[in-house]
Symmetry: C2
Subunit: 203 residues, 2 copies
């Protein structure tokens, strides 16, 4: 059964879960058991739908993975990219990107960040769609570093490597924070801003 890519799992009337909650629960399961080790039955159970009900909204496991990753990028755009683009000053913009990205991971983006690694299970066209969105984010951060270079604020830094190192420092939080959850979230956000900005800016 092939459905349009815009099809989304609906919340169960009983559970009244939002689509975002359905995606998050499915993502969490796929992270725990691995994409290969997760069945559609497992997913249906954890999101509180029948298998038939779930198939009414998705074409299959691969389609669900694609929808989840699209949703994660939609959230990144809404919570990180669009607000950051409103900030004219590149230094303030870089702080805003870092702060909002870390906050997004802590506020429920953790599973999506970890699931991103399973994107190789998508078909070529789906992988290309996700890769384009990832490159757009890298380009925003890279352009911000370029502006900082023109303002004479950048360290002697390879912009491409600096961009990726900053984003890996941020996304790495999804790996380790669950084991160090005693660390205060606000403190982690500000420490990550300090770490990343010190690595990048002359200061």
């Amino acid at each position: 059964m092939i459905l349009p890519k815009t099809a989304e799992p609906k919340p169960t009337p009983k559970g009244q879960a939002s689509n975002a909650e359905v995606y998050r629960a499915a993502a969490r399961l796929m992270v725990q058991k691995g994409y290969g080790g997760t069945s559609i039955s497992d997913i249906a159970q954890v999101v509180g739908m029948t298998k038939a009900g779930l198939y009414h909204h998705i074409a299959g496991k691969q389609d669900l993975l694609f929808q989840i990753l699209q949703h994660a990028h939609d959230e990144m755009e809404r919570l990180v990219i669009e607000p950051a683009k409103q900030v004219g000053d590149p230094e303030r913009r870089l702080i805003e990107i870092t702060r909002r990205h870390v906050r997004g991971i802590l506020d429920g983006g953790l599973e999506f960040t970890l699931l991103y690694r399973e994107r190789h299970h998508l078909d070529d066209a789906q992988q290309e769609t996700i890769a384009l969105r990832t490159r757009a984010y890298l380009a925003l951060v890279g352009a911000t570093l370029q502006e900082l270079a023109m303002e004479g604020k950048l360290r002697d830094l390879d912009i491409q490597i600096g961009t990726i190192h900053l984003l890996k420092t941020i996304s790495g939080i999804a790996d380790w924070y669950p084991m160090f959850s005693e660390i205060d979230e606000d403190h982690l956000v500000e420490q990550t801003v300090n770490f990343g900005l010190s690595a990048i800016l002359k200061r």
Copy 2:
């Protein structure tokens, strides 16, 4: 069949692969297909052994994963930790740790770095063994940052968070470098030293 944990797959006489090469090939396969998606038959085929031959050296897939991660930590000790411990000055030591860790990933540690994520498939005692070795490495880096703080060289930085961010920046290379392999390795090593040290040290 339960064998002592010290049992190691031997190279096939024909292939003359070293144990390290056998571990690396098995690790690469487990990373590609996921631990759950990899069978002992798959592993035997890729390391050039019969399934029975492989079972002669390992108790099973979980035991092999444990042996591979132990081997990866042995390599970390040999290539990063022991040489770094010889360096008295903490700033030089931190540079040495960073440089040697990145070099270790690029020189064949990439699969081991990525496979580390599958450690939750180990039994509790095995997980604890690996966790202890990881904590020992974190403690070495943390103690180095502590020495730098006492020398007045550390930024206003949470040592625990700074330590983890540095190590995630380094290990993150295993995720992205295969997609950016046009970047010169020596350049990547030095840029990573600069990025990490600038994030941590007043300079």
